[in-house]
């Protein structure tokens, strides 16, 4: 008895009611469409891809037996696959370094608010908006031996021999494709980093000015630490997109000459849609996924360590 009223047993006070039960169902109902979509469009294909990689399934033929790790063993024994993996990493890291560096440089330039910077800000996204297939075709023409403007400039300035062709060797073909891909990719990073730099509190910069900090010191001790989280996110995105990139290389080099620009994604496409070996293509794509996963996990661990050391 408290203040003259009888005590109500706790079980009665918190007895679940019909209304409470209905409310508890509602969140599940709300997320159900998204959940179903995830299962149908992400989980199911990934699972089927994994299962198919352990089979001998081809669109040409009626077999679909489990063969264990045979596809993986054959792929890992194939020197062409290792060459493609090596090329994929070269392609990815060179693209990553250039796209991020140029993206960061352009973001810093735009944030300095020079004349016409607003206009440039609007134009900088054009390469990103263009479909990558169009970019591939345009750059193929610009690098062509016969009528390409880049080649013509290099030849006119006697920087290269009159018989020079970008698409004659693997290294120069890859370089041409990288230039095209960087041109297409950097504006996204510019925009992301510019948005972050724009939100930098001005009092930090003003204090640095008062302390007599140089521009490189301001960048190193104020701007860079401030944009690091966005830079890290951009790095992950750039890594994933470039690692999986297919269209620009396909259009510009078709994996040639002599397979010297064939990356994993081109091999997967060929295996799946030229030879219709879906199981082998699935196994290749799983290998690609695992490689990407390993790199991303290592990068995250490294980033954590660097942050702790810096702190």
């Amino acid at each position: 008895m408290l203040l003259g009223r009888p005590l109500v047993p706790l079980q009665k006070l918190y007895r679940p009611t019909m209304i409470k039960r209905r409310i508890s169902i509602a969140p599940y109902a709300f997320i159900a469409p998204a959940f179903i979509m995830l299962i149908v469009f992400i989980a199911y294909p990934v699972l089927m891809n994994l299962i198919t990689s352990f089979q001998n399934y081809s669109l040409i033929g009626n077999k679909r037996d489990f063969i264990g790790l045979v596809n993986y063993q054959n792929l890992l024994k194939d020197v062409r696959v290792w060459d493609a993996i090596r090329r994929t990493f070269s392609w990815t890291f060179i693209n990553l370094v250039f796209a991020l560096s140029i993206g960061l440089g352009a973001a810093l330039l735009l944030s300095s608010r020079f004349n016409w910077s607003n206009l440039l800000n609007a134009f900088v996204l054009i390469p990103w908006i263009l479909p990558s297939v169009i970019t591939g075709y345009i750059f193929s023409l610009m690098f062509s031996e016969d009528a390409g403007v880049f080649t013509w400039i290099l030849k006119s300035l006697h920087i290269v021999e009159p018989t020079f062709s970008w698409f004659r060797t693997g290294a120069t073909s890859m370089a041409a494709a990288i230039i095209a891909n960087v041109w297409r990719a950097f504006p996204f990073f510019t925009l992301m980093l510019y948005a972050k730099i724009s939100s930098l509190p001005t009092d930090h910069i003003e204090a640095a000015y008062l302390e007599g900090a140089t521009s490189s010191q301001r960048f190193r001790y104020i701007t860079f630490p401030f944009i690091t989280p966005v830079l890290a996110a951009c790095t992950y995105l750039c890594f994933i997109w470039t690692f999986n990139a297919y269209d620009i290389l396909k259009i510009m080099t078709n994996g040639g000459p002599a397979e010297l620009t064939t990356t994993m994604s081109i091999m997967v496409q060929r295996e799946a849609f030229q030879y219709f070996n879906l199981s082998v293509a699935s196994a290749m794509s799983i290998i690609m996924f695992l490689l990407m996963l390993i790199i991303i996990v290592c990068a995250r661990l490294l980033y954590g360590v660097i942050k702790r050391v810096a702190a």
């Binding site: 062509s144 698409f167 073909s173 510009m252 040639g256 000459p257 002599a258 030229q274």
Partner: protein
């Protein structure tokens, strides 16, 4: 209260009854209508065939007028996705009734059970294959069973720019050695000898590789029921050496598309080009001066061999086709000489079709002559595309000077044979 409820129940039952009756009658009406409706014949076409031939020639309306029991339902697909679409349709049980099949895919599709054997239909049909190009007919047969009827084969001839040849002081080439002489002289005067896409896997089979037939050899042959690489033969080595020499006078870009190469030829930057029938419509209009363009048969090689690589398309019926009779009705319609002439983008398979437009003009005479001696560059097995990829890598390396011709043949032979052994 109970009476009111009973009335409501009665009314509800009555309404349900009316609804069911209407549905049944409606279904009955639709069935009665569908009995009179023409049956659908689903057909899959390469979009170029549709855009350049099927649609302008009004084939659908013409067929439906002649066969009122059938209605054509046409699906179009781009070249790169044609095989994929055929295989996916088969894998999902939605086979097309009529399929346009690329010659290089027949073996693959037969191995995958995609195509229906046609011999029983042919036995009681008006289609007479005796007037067809024999090589084109043979490519539709696997182990003696017919799976495809050719309607659009092609072959290569040599096109050259007469003005440049006159400028260089050369007569049209008769041999592969003549071609090399012209190539050297042309390159010295800033013309390219020929042009093509090295990075395309079929480059080593049909384009520059097509001249291998003039050296009386192939990448592989069928010997005693087994497929054997021929890249270790002296003829193959001699051809590769010729190709390496010829490539010195060609553009160094390995990614030149066929369209760009043909455009360069039309602009007078290239002196010779392997020429397919479809280029008559696509490239000739690009020539500023049509008189500069002349044709010859593919030049002979050192042994006098005279080869031209064939390609092209066939009609097939899907093994799971829902309307096989309708499909065969279309095949009979499409294989009359007149309609075949209307449909072929390359050349008609039936020699009688050359008497009909557009093939009854002088531009096709050389093709008609060349077709008699043309052959498919290799036996078209199900591993043919992979052989092409493997060999093109070594062939390209030799052209680009990464490895020697001898090394390309040695490595190529081992790698091609390894691929062939998977089906031997």
């Amino acid at each position: 209260m109970t009476e009111v409820l009973a009335d409501k129940t009665l009314l509800a039952l009555l309404l349900i009854g009316v609804l069911c009756s209407v549905t049944v009658f409606a279904a009955g009406t639709s069935e009665a209508k569908s009995a009179a409706k023409p049956r659908e014949v689903r057909i899959l076409l390469w979009d170029s065939t549709y855009n350049q031939k099927f649609e302008p020639q009004n084939i659908k309306a013409d067929f439906e007028a002649q066969y009122p029991d059938y209605q054509l339902v046409i699906d179009r697909i781009e070249y790169d996705s044609l095989d994929k679409q055929i295989l996916l349709a088969h894998a999902t049980g939605k086979d097309y009734d009529v399929i346009q099949v690329n010659h290089s895919s027949v073996s693959q599709f037969v191995a995958g059970g995609v195509l229906l054997p046609l011999d029983s239909y042919l036995a009681s049909s008006a289609i007479d294959l005796s007037t067809y190009a024999p090589a084109a007919v043979d490519v539709g047969k696997i182990k003696g069973v017919t799976y495809g009827i050719p309607f659009d084969p092609d072959c290569r001839i040599l096109a050259y720019n007469r003005r440049i040849l006159d400028e260089l002081g050369f007569a049209p080439p008769k041999t592969t050695a003549d071609m090399l002489e012209i190539a050297k002289a042309a390159y010295a005067k800033d013309y390219y000898a020929m042009a093509g896409q090295v990075s395309k896997s079929m480059f080593c089979i049909y384009d520059l590789g097509g001249f291998m037939l003039s050296y009386d050899t192939q990448v592989y042959k069928e010997v005693n029921g087994k497929y054997v690489s021929q890249l270790n033969t002296p003829e193959a080595l001699q051809f590769v050496k010729w190709a390496v020499e010829m490539f010195k006078y060609m553009p160094k870009d390995t990614n030149i598309s066929d369209t760009l190469a043909r455009s360069m030829f039309a602009q007078g930057k290239v002196v010779m080009l392997w020429w397919t029938p479809s280029q008559i419509n696509s490239v000739i209009p690009q020539f500023a001066n049509r008189d500069e363009l002349e044709f010859s048969e593919i030049p002979i090689g050192p042994t006098g061999a005279h080869g031209s690589a064939m390609g092209g398309y066939l009609w097939g019926i899907g093994s799971g086709a829902k309307n096989k009779d309708g499909a065969w009705a279309f095949m009979e319609y499409a294989n009359t000489p007149k309609v075949q002439a209307m449909l072929a983008r390359g050349l008609p398979a039936d020699t009688r079709a050359f008497d009909y437009p557009p093939f009854n003009i002088p531009e096709y005479n050389m093709f008609r002559k060349q077709l008699e001696t043309s052959k498919y560059p290799v036996p078209l097995t199900e591993v043919f595309p992979r052989v092409a990829e493997v060999w093109n890598r070594r062939f390209s390396e030799a052209l680009l000077g990464v490895i020697s011709a001898e090394e390309a043949c040695r490595l190529g032979h081992a790698e091609v044979q390894a691929v062939l052994d998977t089906i031997n």
